[in-house]
């Protein structure tokens, strides 16, 4: 599928910031399911900093914006060709050992309820089937409902509340998989969700679970599927914060406000 992305994030500071520094993971991963045609990230008034591919295979690019800064926009525009690999991250070069993704973080700590739910998913038919069951169990237990959780909601809290968004779904899968000793990580990216006409969660997140023999396999409880050609993978981490496509800090006393527009469209060849 040929997809185009148009993603603009605008930051405004009510008192001009002395400077802004950001670290981006905004370039699609290189693997057999994604082929980049053209891609450009720009920051208004920004100086491109150091760039490198990190051990997890993500392209990281630093930016700085010398002050005073009242407003900046981060613009991502590009096109890529995607292929459905049934969620398998084939051909992705990375150096971080899967065991690193067994470590739990604050939002991915398994409480008793998550541990119990995870235990119910264990099956003798192997890791892949267990992972599918984890994803399905999360989809059943946490109803997709925007506005019910916030950026710092933990997996345990969203499970207890029974509602959440893709971030909560992914955190819950990570907590449960790691509890069972399966390495799992958070993936941030985009989703082309045209089928039902809605564009909700075009900036999307899902989970990857390490399955022996297959490697990393993606699971998206929010849409009850494995990532296919509608998904664009940007980067991964131990949780949402660790995998954030944009991390930044503004120096100054001002209050920051942000608005985001994302459009992921299928392009006719």
């Amino acid at each position: 599928m040929l997809l185009s992305v148009d993603h603009v994030t605008r930051y405004r500071y009510d008192t001009p910031a002395r400077s802004v520094v950001q670290s981006h993971r905004l370039t699609p991963s290189r693997f057999d399911g994604q082929r980049l045609l053209d891609w450009e990230v720009s920051v208004s008034g920004g100086l491109a900093g150091g760039a490198f591919r990190d051990g997890a295979g993500d392209w990281v690019q630093g930016w700085s914006v010398p002050g005073p800064v009242s407003e900046i926009s981060v613009t991502v525009r590009g096109r890529l060709e995607t292929t459905d690999l049934s969620g398998v991250l084939r051909g992705h070069r990375e150096a971080v050992p899967p065991e690193c993704y067994l470590r739990s973080t604050t939002p991915t700590q398994a409480d008793q309820a998550l541990a119990d739910l995870a235990a119910q998913c264990v099956t003798a038919s192997g890791g892949l089937e267990t992972a599918h069951r984890l994803s399905a169990a999360v989809a059943d237990a946490i109803v997709y409902r925007p506005g019910t959780t916030h950026a710092h909601t933990t997996a345990a809290e969203s499970l207890a509340g029974g509602e959440g968004v893709c971030q909560d779904h992914a955190h819950a899968v990570l907590a449960m998989a790691r509890h069972l000793g399966m390495p799992a990580r958070y993936v941030s990216g985009y989703l082309h969700a045209s089928e039902d006409g809605t564009l909700h969660e075009a900036a999307h997140a899902w989970a990857e679970v390490w399955v022996a023999g297959l490697g990393w396999v993606g699971f998206d409880p929010a849409n009850r599927c494995c990532p296919d050609e509608r998904y664009i993978r940007l980067g991964s981490g131990l949780d949402a914060q660790d995998a954030a496509p944009i991390r930044g800090i503004a120096r100054g006393p001002g209050v920051e406000s942000m608005d985001v527009t994302v459009a992921v469209q299928s392009v006719q060849q």
């Binding site: 400077s19 950001q22 990190d54 051990g55 050992p97 800090i249």
Partner: protein, 470 residues
């Protein structure tokens, strides 16, 4: 403890390195000694060297007690220690480059993957990165204890930011000022080149993008940090700037320091700040002590950070057990210095042994430091032992245990004369383009009779440490 090895006396005779000290003490009556001790204290006060004690309240600028009786090594003793320390520093760095690279030692089954990759100190964000000259730990503090004339053991390694070197330098300075005669009578190898050697080591690991004489800075968490004195002391001696996070900023591909003459590019940061606080964009987002964007500059070769982020995985107390294995694996040599036999409570059979012999053992937390969270079995009450038993059972992987070693003693001035007190030794090995070690280190002494805990945070003192010329 009469069975302990006294470094000055062997079977009633004075051991050769201490030969000239016997006369020195005999010629020093109690009044003179007290006067000298007061003088030493005044000198320490004047230069301002203090060491805040965590968790004890009271005066944060408490003086660390200084004992005037030096601790002495012969040249031959030191030569062996030096080889052993350098060997260890080399192996630890080879390990770090390996586990952030291909992980050969794990693949070869010589160390469990879990201990390395699930370690809290293993830093995923630097995987695949080889720092300049392949060095992660630029200052390796190897804590050594002695139990006999030829028996030395490594108690632990400090690969991040070992502190205390300012005491090593100041102890010598003060001894030379107070007892110049001693330094004429004994041929003692100098250590005052340490700061220049440290500066050279740091400059030797300037990043690839640095095309000029590198600018080195020391990054401190600030004046409330217990080792702040040492940070400013070392900056002074090396002639480099002492900066806090707010003095540095990232612009484009580099890190700059604010100066009165405008921004100045920084090439090497000797940080005395934990990984977690270095960069809010990469580690703790609430850190006010670090520099936003620093890790992106570091990873893209714009600045060097000493010690390199992630170095802590090599000095974890559970990983420590495997250092002899690292020496064999990377260097193809046998370890010159031995480890203290260590039981991992994370292993069922070893944990059982530990729980059965708790009252005889020393138990430590895997990530503990400074003598906190530690049980010295033979010196503890039954209630304390039971408290530790419960803690170990609740989280066995968090503890290791070692036999209670009969640490050597050296003569020490005490209230009513001279008495043996237990000591350890921390030399500071510098690793850059080459491996370098000044002859000596910091001797810490447990001032309380019979105590085995030498940590300055637990009321230990320090001594000047001599290495005699050949």
């Amino acid at each position: 403890m009469t069975s302990c090895f006294n470094e000055m006396y062997l079977q009633g005779a004075v051991r050769p390195p201490y030969a000239r000290l016997e006369g020195w003490t005999r010629a020093m009556p109690a009044e003179l000694r007290q006067m000298k001790q007061a003088e030493a204290e005044a000198l320490f006060r004047r230069i301002g060297i203090t060491f805040a004690v965590y968790g004890e309240g009271g005066d944060p600028d408490r003086l660390i007690p200084f004992d005037m009786f030096p601790r002495v090594f012969s040249h031959a003793e030191w030569t062996r220690l030096e080889r052993g320390i350098k060997q260890r520093a080399q192996a630890l760095n080879a390990f770090l480059v390996d586990v952030y690279g291909r992980g050969e030692i794990v693949r070869a089954g010589r160390i469990p993957a879990r201990l390395v990759y699930q370690n809290a100190a293993y830093e995923k964000s630097v995987v695949g990165f080889v720092p300049p000259k392949g060095v992660y730990s630029h200052i390796v503090g190897v804590d050594l204890v002695r139990t006999g004339p030829d028996e030395f053991f490594v108690l632990e390694d400090n690969c991040r930011t070992p502190s205390g070197v300012s005491y090593m330098l100041e102890n010598r300075e003060i001894m030379m000022r107070m007892f110049p005669d001693l330094f004429r009578e004994n041929r003692i190898l100098p250590i005052d080149s340490y700061s220049e050697r440290l500066r050279r080591t740091l400059a030797s690991v300037a990043p690839a993008k640095c095309d000029r004489e590198p600018t080195v800075v020391i990054l401190t968490p600030g004046h409330f940090n217990s080792a702040y004195y040492e940070h400013s002391f070392l900056a002074d001696l090396m002639g480099v700037e002492l900066v806090e996070g707010q003095d540095l900023f990232v612009e484009g591909e580099y890190v700059y320091m604010r100066t009165t003459e405008g921004p100045r590019r920084v090439d090497v940061i000797y940080r005395r700040l934990d990984d977690a606080y270095l960069d809010p964009l990469c580690f703790r987002p609430d850190s006010m002590l670090g520099v936003a964007g620093l890790m992106d500059v570091y990873r893209s070769g714009g600045v060097s950070i000493c010690s390199a982020p992630g170095a802590g995985v090599a000095d974890d107390k559970a990983v420590y057990t495997y250092v002899p294995e690292m020496i064999r694996f990377y260097l193809g040599e046998e370890p010159i210095l031995n480890n203290v036999p260590t039981w991992q409570c994370g292993r069922d059979d070893e944990c059982r042994y530990v729980l059965e012999h708790l009252a005889e053992l020393v138990v430590k937390e895997v990530h503990g430091s400074g003598g906190y969270g530690m049980l010295v079995g033979p010196k503890s009450s039954a209630a304390e032992v039971e408290m530790f038993r419960a803690r170990i059972k609740a989280n066995p992987g968090n503890y290791i245990a070692q036999p209670t070693l009969a640490l050597s003693t050296t003569p020490t001035f005490v209230a009513d004369g001279i008495a043996p007190r237990h000591v350890d030794l921390r030399p500071y090995c510098l690793v850059g383009e080459s491996i370098d070690l000044v002859p000596g280190g910091l001797t810490r002494v447990a001032l309380t009779d019979g105590s085995l805990v030498v940590n300055s945070s637990q009321g230990g003192g320090v001594k000047d440490t001599w290495v005699l010329a050949e």
